[in-house]
Assembly symmetry: C2
Homo-oligomer: 456 residues x 2
């Protein structure tokens, strides 16, 4: 057993106990009541970094939730790695579908079960432990900075300004992030593309109060019927989004590159079986991986209105609501898309209703060049561990702040993620396999070695 | 002041106190937890009838909620009036929109504010008090029976069987019902038509769990997007329902009768202002009154799915639900429509989702001939009170049990309602003007006099 493996093995229980302490803080950034928990999580991270060997660690106020920043500067002349992670998590609805309590982590079947087990407390924590090892055995040959934020799950609204305000402190050669996944436990991969995002809440108002559906039904526009029609119009029969101008800036991927991306292993039957659907659906002319990797999407994330209780209430409701999101591809500007959607959605509303569109958040897509030093160091670290070269993958997910980092700090990110599809991030029963957790720590330790070597 | 008016005036406070006692029982029939309240309401009605002068009053078990039955038989050779009312009420959601608590009745601005103030506790109670007066002053010249049920708001599922089982006890010449409205406080009207109803809950299942909308969005069918598309397809661009065969049995109303019905006063601007909509909407080729009176309608009464909390959660949900109703016109069979809908809705579902359709309730429409003795007696009673002949009106609402009475008991009903549009039945802030309440008692007393005279 290598020294690294040995260290992990003999410190396992402490690692888990420390991680569980972080997970137990219900730091849900989208729910205002959890604001105090964000400070608890920030304090927890400060302690983690100091105990792991940081020269200093501080909690910084932002316009929103706090950021924990820490660093260890070996020598200003050496390259610097800036680790980014987030301490906030998604809400836990529908709570009744969880097999164990979301903020009381449990180990079952070799996995950690909890909200944040993977995204991003589990993955972020791996960096603290890799750093601890490198410091303890004096193996750190580059400078390391940590920036742990608390608003990733709501689109990082305050971090760009905070980055601008602290641009000197954050100076680095690369940003290292573990907030993505790999193809399978035995197929290492590195995410080289992320989708952008635009997200709105829409409110459709019909009559000024709920009406009796018998006395008024058929003569007064029902806001649910209308909202359904409006949503239905947003995509055509080929699954293309109908917002005028929506595809104008979509970077078309060349036939050659599509062929390359198509080499990543994908078994449609397994994919369908895993989510129990008989048929997949999406934009005509593209494969499943392309539909999530290089094409935008349109999803209603939530809808509500009228009577939703037990039994039958005959009502023509006053209001209907939906939370609507689009995933965008690199080169699409989420601010432009946000306005295009708002204009279009309002324009297709019949006069019989009033429509209000509120943008909730947005972010740009991102592409990581595979020629970068840090990408290569990641590749080597994963190859050491898994015995095969990792596959570059375009992910359908969004980490809007990654493209902001590039714009504001001028630093590219490498997305070295250890999540698996079955981890159910954002869903009930989120989990993170212990194997991924330990492998992640080992691979990150490996990264620092290769990165220092390449830069010698 | 007439003796009747005098009696009402001097007993006002007691009347209201007794009515409020009934209203305070939260007898919501669609919510199983309120089952014990149904028995409380049945007991309350039994007491009301006995105190008003019934020879007997009993609570009868049914397969569902209890029925209170009472009677006063003057002479079996005389005509018999069977009074029907219901003791159950609608749910109170959205509770936050009520200005006062729904089950704590208050008098403000000359109105009673509470769930059931009009529908149907207030209106049903008028019959108890009219009966009390007639018995007290020995003015009752016909037999009277009372049948007060507890499942009207869920489509009276148990009453038909109970009627069949008690067909002899319920023998009568006419059924008198106050569960409808009149055009305006100064425009008396009698409802001569009711729409039927069919109501379903639909469940659309996409993936077997909520998915990350970034990782899967664009490649996996979103059940909310799909449900919206399916709902949108249920009506064409002319507002016609697209279920094959839906209009087959619709009784087309002659041009002549449409002209007659069109004479009922209607001010479109006032109607729009009252509900604050800029434009009305409905089936092409029909007026607003026709759209609710003689044409079927299609309304989504409720919809829900995905994330509906605060802020932005990016999720591709597993399930989406809707409560869907159609109002039917006389001659449409709700059981046939229920099957047609189910078949059609399931047939338009893409293979990427699973669809489940659950019928929740249904009922037939009804037409009351204006040549009936009891209709004429009602006409006269209202003319005495208001100084003008009441207008016959086809209502858009449904009281499914009315057509069942005709089928099972062979008895026609007269719908002598005193509700007003502003009463907000089924909505927050349901109310009933005291003037309508007192006028109702007086008109019902008048009805018995005229009905006895006509049948002399």
């Amino acid at each position: 057993m290598s020294e690294v493996k040995n260290y992990i093995e003999s410190n396992k229980e402490r690692f888990l106990e420390e991680l569980f302490g972080l997970i137990r803080i219900p730091s849900i950034s989208s729910i205002a009541d959890h604001k105090p928990d964000m400070y608890k999580a920030a304090e927890y991270w400060k302690k983690l970094l100091l105990e792991a060997g940081a020269d200093k660690a501080e909690i910084y106020e932002t316009e929103g939730n706090p950021v924990t920043y820490g660093e260890k500067i070996i020598d200003p002349a050496l390259p610097t790695v800036l680790v980014y992670a987030h301490m906030d998590v998604m809400p836990v609805d529908p709570i009744e579908l969880w097999d164990s309590k979301p903020f009381e982590p449990e180990i079952r079947d070799g996995k950690i079960w909890a909200r944040g087990a993977d995204d991003d407390k589990g993955q972020g924590f791996m960096h603290a432990k890799a750093f601890e090892y490198l410091v303890k055995y004096d193996l750190l040959k580059v400078n390391v900075k940590f920036m742990i934020e608390g608003e990733e799950e709501v689109g990082s609204p305050s971090l760009p300004k905070w980055c601008k305000d602290n641009i000197d402190m954050l100076k680095a050669d690369v940003i290292l992030v573990s907030d993505t996944g790999m193809i399978a436990p035995d197929i290492p991969s590195i995410t080289t593309g992320l989708r952008g995002l635009a997200y709105w809440e829409v409110e459709v108002t019909g009559p000024n109060r709920d009406l009796h559906s018998g006395l008024f039904g058929g003569a007064v526009a029902n806001p649910i019927n209308v909202l359904a029609k409006m949503i239905a119009q947003m995509q055509d029969e080929n699954g293309r989004i109908t917002i005028p101008g929506f595809y104008d800036d979509v970077m078309e991927v060349s036939t050659e590159e599509r062929e390359l991306l198509g080499r990543a292993p994908f078994n449609e039957q397994d994919y369908k079986d895993a989510i129990d659907v008989e048929e997949l659906a999406g934009e005509k002319g593209y494969t499943t991986s392309e539909r999530t990797g290089i094409r935008p999407s349109f999803d209603v994330c939530g809808i509500w209105g009228g009577y939703t209780g037990e039994g039958a209430k005959t009502v023509l409701p006053s209001k209907a609501y939906a939370k609507i999101s689009t995933r965008l591809v690199p080169n699409q500007d989420h601010q432009k898309i946000s306005l295009l959607f708002k204009d279009h959605f309002e324009s297709i509303a019949p006069k019989s209703v009033k429509v209000k569109v509120t943008p909730l958040h947005g972010g740009y897509g991102y592409v990581c060049p595979i020629e970068m030093d840090a990408y290569k160091a990641t590749e080597k670290a994963l190859e050491d561990l898994y015995g095969k070269r990792p596959v570059p993958v375009r992910s359908g997910g969004s980490i809007p702040i990654i493209s902001d980092f590039e714009k504001i700090l001028g630093i590219k990110s490498v997305l070295m993620g250890f999540g698996l599809e079955a981890d159910a991030i954002h869903s009930p029963n989120e989990n993170f396999p212990l194997e991924q957790f330990y492998n992640g720590i080992e691979a990150i330790i490996g990264f620092y070695g290769h990165y220092a070597d390449i830069n010698k």
